[in-house]
């Protein structure tokens, strides 16, 4: 009975939400924006160092967002490995000995690596970029992991942590360097913008892949735990 009631209530709430949202969208769709950001963007695209406006926004105009976004990712990674088993990442249950998968892996992994590289490179002038590349890279890692390929660098050790933080650190270093050189935080010198962006994208790709992979791999099986403070 309560269940039905709960469903009814939630349905009503969701419906109200939906109608409010639709009404809003409808209303907003009928107005014009006071600020034309795309035009502004197009006007400044040349100074950004990349041709693809999305990448320009991501890594130049709103690079702060991206920096923080990577930060979020790193946090997730940290939090993930913080609950991971300390000694080994080997989880026998996760290992499959599927022949087909193994064969597929041998083909797919190099392909995905290539794809990742392309995506990264393409990012500067068409859709693509560090995140997409990183995701693809991570996917190949997952495949390898499922195939039972040991990946020692994923043990929670310095290597893993270095890997996690690499992209972020480089990004940050660039940001700080720009500040140190007298300009503002995160302001790239125009002549170096493209180089820097590419460099950042590259390390980011690695880091993103690393984080995603680590989160996938860090199977929390350790029994080490901490009781609540003064817990009884």
């Amino acid at each position: 009975m309560t269940r039905v009631l709960a469903i009814l209530t939630v349905t009503a709430v969701c419906f109200a939400f939906l109608s409010g949202l639709v009404y809003s969208i409808w209303q907003i769709g009928a107005t014009t924006t006071p600020v034309d950001l795309p035009a502004l963007l197009a006007g400044n695209l040349d100074d950004s160092g990349v041709e693809n406006p999305v990448t320009a926004v991501l890594l130049n105009f709103r690079s702060y967002d991206t920096l923080l976004e990577i930060g979020v990712l790193v946090i997730a990674g940290i939090a993930g490995i913080s609950v991971a088993k300390t000694s080994s990442l080997e989880d026998p249950e996760l290992r499959t000995s599927d022949e087909l998968l193994y064969a597929l892996q041998r083909w797919l992994v190099p392909l995905t690596l290539l794809l990742a590289g392309y995506l990264l490179w393409a990012g500067s002038d068409r859709p693509g970029g560090a995140f997409q590349a990183g995701a693809v890279l991570a996917a190949s890692g997952v495949l390898m992991r499922l195939g039972g390929i040991p990946m020692d660098f994923l043990r929670p050790g310095l290597m893993l942590r270095l890997g996690l933080s690499l992209g972020f650190s480089v990004f940050l270093l660039v940001a700080v360097a720009s500040a140190l050189s007298g300009s503002r935080f995160l302001a790239y010198p125009p002549e170096m913008a493209r180089t820097l962006i590419v460099a950042i994208e590259t390390v980011l790709t690695l880091s993103i892949a690393m984080v995603l992979l680590a989160l996938f791999v860090s199977a929390p099986i350790n029994n080490a735990e901490e009781p609540e403070e003064g817990g009884s």
Binding site: C14, F17, D36, V54, L58, A76, A79, F131, P220
Partner: protein
């Protein structure tokens, strides 16, 4: 009425469905999926609504990209936590622990009082 507005409206619908699931489902992984559904809805609204008038707009696209990363990070973290929670308590939902205490696999005794 451009297709973009349709996207936005579809996003709204996704949001509502996601919300419904998010509230009602107690299984944590499914709840998380509902959340992701909702997230997608939001991203659709964001892009659709912005592009409805001025055509392709890279800014919301970039925002959505960022948003996706954030959502993925959150999802991944949630999954990790949920897995560990499951591992420790054997449960997949946040039911009231008062009613059925967790069959904890032998939680260690409370930290010894420092004086002992």
């Amino acid at each position: 009425m451009t297709p973009f507005l349709l996207y936005a409206l579809a996003g709204a619908a996704l949001c509502s469905i996601g919300l419904f699931g998010f509230i009602l489902i107690s299984h944590l992984l499914r709840k998380l999926l509902a959340f992701n559904l909702m997230g997608s809805g939001v991203f659709l609204v964001m892009v659709g609504l912005a592009q409805h008038r001025s055509g392709p707009d890279p800014v919301p696209q970039a925002l959505v990209l960022t948003g996706i990363v954030v959502a993925i990070a959150a999802t991944a973290l949630a999954v990790v936590l949920i897995r560990r929670y499951y591992h420790l308590s054997g449960k997949t939902s946040l039911e009231d622990p008062a009613q059925n205490p967790p069959p904890a696999p032998g939680p260690r005794q409370a930290r010894e009082a420092p004086h002992e």
